[in-house]
């Protein structure tokens, strides 16, 4: 009798499991999924938005051929354009493994379109908020057509480029992901998105940034323009500097930014403490002095570009003021654009070079 009851219980459970597995509403087989690795968003030609997707083709991977399939579609909003891309392929689109998002130049110029795109992408539960976001001075579709030499999928290449373990490039580039972009848009509408472009030989080039102000593109900054940014934002580690007499590599850098009130305006003092390893040449006080002055010039120039050319707080000084100097923030934080335009800036670099 007891055995019979056990058998009935076991069979009921087994049937329940079979039913749950077989009739699952969300049952998805691997071969029925289209894994989107890169998403590109541009201004459309006929409709407002054009979305291009680079989809992983597992069969191409196995055969050693092109492992990506590019599909694009236009729509009234980014979501409908994404849906329209889905309608062009027989498999169900999946964004769970998306590695990079590329935003085209024309889209970046339109505050409403850019905000809407960021909103749609961040609200898609499948897209990880740590997905790398990049801007281009061309169209996203053009960039996605190019193929990096070392990696078949552009999205994987870009995400690898920004990987923490990639010490070769970590200091050279500014990183932006969906999370930081959403946070910047929510906070101030000012953001910095790293730039990706292609050269004459269709080679991918990463360098410089797109400066976003009031939720729209205000200009592209070159890597030289941005040299001081790395020092101010704590990620100059790995940076290699060369002068006539020596080459050094930054091992540690720490910015300390403070504010004081000075003749009715704000004075921002940026002190950078850095330690570098000597890679080539000699180490003497003159060399140290030379590098210190160079770094100070870089920082001052970056600040000047933000303040005078774009009147845009790309260094997020307002946040530093709000967090560490609440009284000054209460006094000067209101009309920040006006305050920022009049901030006096002083920097001092304290560099130690190790043998």
């Amino acid at each position: 009798m007891r055995n019979k009851t056990l058998i009935v219980k076991f069979l009921t459970l087994a049937l329940l499991f079979v039913a749950l597995l077989a009739f699952s509403w969300d049952r998805t087989e691997m071969e029925n999924r289209a894994f989107v690795i890169t998403i590109g968003v541009d201004k459309g030609e006929e409709l407002p938005y054009k979305v291009t997707m680079s989809i992983l083709d597992a069969e191409g991977f196995e055969d050693g051929e092109d492992a990506r399939v590019l599909r694009d579609a236009e729509g009234e909003c980014p979501a409908s354009a994404m849906g329209a891309v889905g309608a062009t392929i027989s498999r169900s689109i999946y964004f769970g493994h998306t590695k990079a998002i590329i935003l085209g130049a024309e889209l970046l110029k339109n505050a409403d379109a850019l905000s809407k795109t960021v909103d749609v992408l961040s609200k898609n539960n499948d897209i990880n908020i740590r997905t790398v976001v990049m801007a281009t001075d061309k169209t996203a579709a053009e960039i996605m057509n190019a193929k990096p030499e070392t990696q078949q999928m552009l999205g994987m290449y870009l995400s690898g480029f920004y990987s923490k373990s990639n010490t070769n490039t970590a200091a050279l580039v500014v990183k932006a992901d969906l999370e930081s972009l959403v946070a910047d848009f929510r906070l101030s509408g000012t953001s910095i998105i790293p730039k990706v472009t292609i050269d004459k030989d269709d080679e991918i080039k990463i360098g410089g940034v797109a400066l976003i102000k009031n939720h729209a593109l205000t200009g592209f900054l070159t890597p030289d323009d941005m040299a001081g940014y790395l020092w101010m934002r704590e990620n100059a580690v790995g940076l290699q500097l060369t002068s006539d007499s020596a080459t050094i590599k930054i091992e540690r850098s720490k910015p300390k930014i403070s504010f004081v009130e000075y003749s009715g305006t704000l004075l921002c003092y940026a002190k950078i403490e850095a330690v570098a390893g000597l890679e080539a040449g000699k180490n003497n006080p003159q060399v140290v002095e030379e590098f210190q002055r160079k770094i100070e010039r870089d920082i001052t120039e970056t600040f000047r570009i933000f303040q005078e050319v774009y009147i845009s707080d790309g260094l997020e000084l307002r946040e530093i003021l709000r967090k560490h100097y609440p009284k000054l923030y209460d006094k000067y934080g209101g009309d920040w654009e006006k305050t920022f335009a009049h901030i006096r800036f002083v920097t001092k670099v304290d560099l130690e070079i190790r043998h």
């Binding site: 749950l20 699952s24 509403w25 969300d26 769970g96 493994h97 539960n125 990880n128 908020i129 740590r130 923490k164 999370e179 959403v182 946070a183 929510r186 906070l187 709000r322 967090k323 560490h324 609440p326």
Partner: protein, 372 residues
């Protein structure tokens, strides 16, 4: 060997209490507190912890005064049969509504993370079946399971917070104390509801294997759990910043999803989140089913415990299915907390405590009169 005497140890009481409160309480806590006190939200949680500890002291006083008695028995002695039945129904309704809310929330999260097209009712049935089975096996099975599950709930959380600590910017908690006392107080008030479920202690008395040490265990559990909640709230606000925490429905779960695991073996952390989430859902719904059916049985004085569990299951599923969307769930839950929730969570224990004190005073006077 396991003792089959319908009693649980103090350690099991602690494990049950932790599971019943912690999982659901913590997921939206950083958002709820940051909404009112921005980066000072974690200070609000400290206030809530102090309030929760005070309430537990009060509840354990009631338990100690009525050791071995059921909730119905001691409220009947204090208030009479009619009011005792009324309080039982009130508390039972609280557990049923709490379970319905959490069940719907669980279904919403499951849909958003893993099963986007699976109907709510299927998720409801799966969770309720599991929770009802657990509840029907009695307090001992619940206690033993809680001791195992607590490890599975805590490990992913410690793991995730350990890994994500590399990316925490504690300057996001600055400037400190910038919120007004009333804003911090409001944050504390809303954070206090995250301790919903600790009133189950009122019903635990007949199941205690040891009569001594219950107060110390319960207060210790709430204090430790409160400490966890303060840390999690502060770390989450530091990770996202106050303004961004507010934008996430479940910031703690979002935090789990943003970590990159070493070795890139797993690209998405959905499974990790679901482990934490399924156990939390099971624990609270299981507790709600167990205690609400117990209270109903005490009032009706007929039938078996399992019959009342089976009665509660469809009621919870129907209520959980009523709201149209997640915003409505939260808006109703806020309304429920401010009215019925606070009455049953704080009002009822305080009332029992006061009457208990008066009764004890009277008994003492009567005893003195007899002696003299």
């Amino acid at each position: 060997m396991f003792a089959l005497n319908n009693k649980i140890s103090l350690r099991q009481v602690q494990a049950l209490l932790f599971l019943e409160i912690f999982g659901f309480g913590v997921t939206a806590l950083p958002r709820r507190t940051a909404e009112h006190a921005a980066q000072d939200g974690w200070i609000g949680v400290i206030i809530a912890v102090v309030a929760a500890v005070l309430l537990v002291i009060l509840i354990t006083f009631i338990i100690k005064a009525n050791i071995g008695q059921t909730f119905y028995d001691y409220t009947k002695r204090l208030f009479g049969r009619f009011l005792a039945s009324f309080f039982c129904l009130l508390l039972s309704a609280r557990f049923i509504l709490l379970a319905a809310f959490y069940l719907r929330l669980f279904a919403e999260i499951t849909q958003s993370i893993m099963l986007p097209t699976t109907p709510y009712i299927v998720i409801f049935i799966a969770v309720l079946a599991l929770a009802a089975y657990g509840a029907s096996k009695g307090i001992e099975a619940r206690g033993r399971l809680a001791e195992l599950l607590i490890i599975i709930v805590l490990l992913p959380l410690i793991f995730v917070f350990g890994i994500s600590s590399r990316e925490i910017d504690f300057s996001n908690l600055l400037p400190m104390m910038s919120a007004s006392p009333s804003q911090i107080g409001k944050a504390g008030y809303y954070a206090f509801f995250s301790f919903g479920g600790m009133e189950t202690l009122l019903l635990i008395s007949p199941f205690l294997a040891r009569k001594k040490g219950v107060a110390k265990s319960a207060i210790g559990t709430i204090a430790v759990m409160g400490g966890f909640m303060v840390i999690i709230t502060a770390v989450t606000i530091a990770r996202f910043g106050a303004q961004n925490v507010v934008a996430h429905n479940w910031p703690v779960l979002k935090m789990m999803d943003t970590i990159s695991l070493p070795g890139s073996i797993i690209d998405r952390q959905g499974a990790l989140i679901m482990t934490f989430w399924i156990i939390s859902a099971y624990a609270i719904i299981n507790a709600a089913l167990f205690f609400s059916s117990l209270l109903l049985k005490d009032v009706a004085k007929k039938g078996k415990h399992i019959h009342y569990i089976l009665l509660c299951v469809p009621i919870i599923a129907i209520i959980a299915n009523i709201p149209n969307n997640i915003d409505q769930v939260y808006s109703w839950f806020n309304l429920y907390n401010k009215t019925f929730g606070i009455t049953t969570m704080v009002g009822l224990p305080v009332l029992i405590f006061i009457v208990q004190l008066i009764r004890r005073g009277r008994d003492r006077v009567a005893k003195q009169d007899v002696n003299s």
